[in-house]
């Protein structure tokens, strides 16, 4: 059922390109699209400038000088942890785009200099970065709609993607944007974990795109976890590289920084509480920390904890596909999805082309958001311009949605129904012993539980007239959880971050990309590696 609302309540707009999501990827997409001279509208679920996981953090970018041998070494190092699933050409493009783009923000971000007077471009504070990006987006002539979550994509009478429709949660009423091309930059999905800044990222873009027939890829690589002080959202990991870790009896756990850190901590957490002390942080760093990461110390200061001398409990927050890899499959250099006219960028897109089977961490992931955002924005603008002359006039009446679940506002849900469904989804995707440490048997059990959630999602009213977004978020998280575990079950080996205790070895027969899609019936397919470099649809092709 499509959204019902009267024209009087609806803001009807027309643009060439619609960007869904105003975080790092979405703002770069908007800037790149506007640079092509087309009309651009950006909608954000929250506020463009504070929404998403970059605004609350401090991204360092994958920042490699353009000397060929230096670039080649950086690419080869990352290929070594990609387990065959990345593409050196995409890595080179991302490095180049990042290197040339960040200095262009001068005037919008106050890049500091180090003691030697060298301007520091690589790492930016999140709030200032996104505040600057918002200004740049506005100065580029893009119209921003804040607090305007997209609820569904729209198609014209020929079935071609033609915009989206959503809800104005502060202004009231609905919005509809007719656009020749749409960029999904709505972020990844951590299933409402306590990861800092992640509550706007519930997989909505995956859902909308999958309803339109888009494919996903790499969804098995969706089990990254990040450390934080227990009971807090402050998942800034830097200081924890200095941590000493102890169990409940005060026994030193003996693990430190390195590739096995998360697994070591996770094993300890499965045995009981784990406490940390940061007494190895050097004195001069302690003095500087508040102006290096101004939010880092807020939880300690406010709860009266001296983390350098006192023990405090730590935990791991699930990051899902945010610092995981999976997302919408992009099939060409413009980051177009398998649905013509629909583009994907940032965490909403599968990052396999540059990270393969391993999280890119903050550096590669920020470079991906910045780069894929601009590629998608430019590609969308060029496609919109191509189709402009042949396009029929803007007629909002002929647009229709994709009959997605959770859009029926006529039948409201029982109180607490959506919260109960969210808890059932989280009970499968958050626990360390189900998702970080995977096994075939547990994946089967989780998939059964998630199928049962899906049955309830399809059979019961989820809508709430007061908040039409919540139902869609629940559908999106249920669908995303099923995709993640379906993919994890299908990849019958261990590779990169996807580790199965029943199949601990990497297997050559799975040297392949795992594509999937579908909602009621989830389907999947392994594509040989070469297909990643051979787009299967022609750029700009339309049915």
């Amino acid at each position: 059922m499509t959204t019902q609302s009267t024209a009087a309540e609806r803001l009807d707009l027309t643009a060439d390109v619609l960007i869904i999501g105003g975080g790092l990827a979405g703002t770069w997409a908007a800037v790149a699209a506007a640079r092509e001279g087309v009309r651009v509208i950006l909608v954000d679920k929250g506020y463009c400038g504070t929404s998403g996981v970059t605004a609350t953090a401090g991204p360092g970018h994958w920042w490699v000088p353009p000397q060929p041998e230096v670039r080649q070494a950086a690419i080869e190092k990352r290929l070594g942890t990609a387990y065959g699933l990345a593409d050196p050409d995409w890595m080179a493009r991302a490095l180049d785009t990042t290197w040339t783009s960040l200095p262009s923000l001068a005037g919008y971000y106050d890049f500091p200099t180090n003691e030697a007077g060298v301007t520091q471009y690589r790492g930016l504070r999140g709030p200032e970065y996104l505040r600057g990006m918002r200004r740049l987006v506005e100065d580029s002539g893009v119209r921003i709609l804040d607090h305007s979550p997209a609820l569904e994509l729209l198609r014209d009478e020929h079935g071609v993607i033609s915009g989206a429709r959503g809800w104005r949660r502060q202004a009231g009423g609905d919005w509809q944007v007719k656009a020749a091309a749409v960029v999904i930059a709505s972020g990844g999905c951590a299933f409402l974990s306590r990861l800092l800044g992640s509550h706007t990222n519930t997989g909505d873009g995956y859902l909308m795109a999958a309803e339109a027939g888009a494919e996903l890829s790499g969804m098995e690589f969706s089990n990254y976890y990040g450390i934080a002080a227990a009971g807090t959202t402050m998942s800034r990991s830097m200081v924890y590289t200095f941590g000493d870790y102890f169990d409940d009896s005060g026994r030193a756990l003996g693990f430190g920084p390195g590739p096995a850190f998360t697994e070591n901590l996770a094993r300890a957490l499965l045995n009981g509480p784990v406490y940390c002390r940061l007494n190895r942080v050097p004195q001069e760093i302690r003095q500087q920390l508040p102006t290096i990461q101004p939010n880092l110390m807020l939880p300690f200061n406010r709860h009266g904890v001296d983390p350098y001398n006192q023990l405090f409990a730590v935990t791991l927050h699930a990051e899902g596909t945010i610092r995981g890899v999976g997302g919408l499959r992009v099939i060409d250099e413009d980051c177009q999805t398998t649905v013509p006219g629909l583009f994907a960028a940032g965490d909403a897109a599968s990052r396999e082309p540059i990270t393969g089977a391993t999280s890119g961490g903050g550096a590669q992931n920020s470079a991906w958001a910045l780069s894929s955002g601009q590629w998608a924005g430019r590609g969308a603008a060029r496609l919109a311009r191509q189709t402009h002359s042949s396009s029929h006039g803007p007629s909002h009446n002929r647009l229709q949605g994709f009959q997605g679940l959770g859009l029926d506002r006529q039948h409201t849900s029982q109180p607490g129904a959506t919260d109960a469904l969210i808890k059932r989804i989280q009970a499968e995707v958050h626990p360390l012993d189900k998702n970080l440490f995977r096994s075939g048997a547990q994946l089967e059990r989780s998939l059964q539980a998630l199928d049962s959630v899906w049955d309830q999602v399809t059979s019961s009213a989820l809508g709430a007239d007061q908040n039409p977004l919540r139902a869609r978020e629940v559908v999106a998280m249920a669908a995303t959880a099923r995709w993640c575990y379906h993919a994890a079950e299908q990849r019958r080996e261990s590779r990169g971050m996807h580790k199965r205790s029943d199949l601990p070895e990497q297997a050559a027969q799975f040297d392949a990309h795992l594509r999937l899609g579908g909602l009621d019936q989830v389907w999947s397919r392994f594509d040989p590696l070469s297909s990643a470099q051979t787009p299967q649809l022609q750029q700009g092709a339309r049915p």
Binding site: G46, Y47, G49, T50, S51, G52, A55, T56, G58, G60, D110, P112, N114, Q120, R122, G123, L124, R125, P127, E128, D146, H147, R169, Q170, R194, L196, G197, H199, T200, A229, G231, T232, T233, M238, T241, F242, D244, F246, D248, S249, G250, R251, A252, G254, G256, P257, P282, I285, P290, T291, I292, Q293, P294, N295, L298, P299, N301, R302, H303, L311
Partner: protein, 124 residues
């Protein structure tokens, strides 16, 4: 999560309602911001950062509300801590609060060289 809004400090600009990414705040009948839905708060501290009057207080506990004494918080010196340390607004250019984010690379590199020297603790 968001706990306190000091109405005597608030100038009614509405910026916190605008910037809250999860729509946890709303303007009340008196045109001053109110906590619309504390459970919607994601404990990201963005409202504090954008409040030039330091009129909001977010407790770091993201799991349950805490019973806080507003006057204790007011006297704690914690109001406006994030905005000050970030060097925003009137703190811009203050040599005590420069943007030193760029030091992260060096700190990560240093972490590998600060040797672990861990002795068991007494259980407390």
């Amino acid at each position: 999560m968001i706990e306190l809004i000091f109405s005597d400090l608030c100038n009614g600009c509405g910026k916190c309602v605008e910037v809250c990414p999860t729509n946890a705040l709303a303007l009340g009948g008196d045109a001053l911001p109110q906590i619309r839905d504390p459970s919607a708060c994601q404990t990201c501290f963005m409202c504090e950062l954008y409040c030039s009057n330091d009129a909001l207080y977010v407790d770091p506990d993201c799991e349950q509300p805490r019973a806080l004494d507003p006057e204790v918080i007011r006297a704690s010196g914690l109001l406006g801590q994030y905005r000050r340390d970030s060097g925003w607004d009137e703190w811009a250019g203050d040599p005590r609060y420069p943007n030193q984010h760029w030091r992260m690379d060096g700190i990560f590199a240093m972490a590998g060289h600060v040797g672990a020297n861990v002795t068991p603790l007494k259980s407390s």
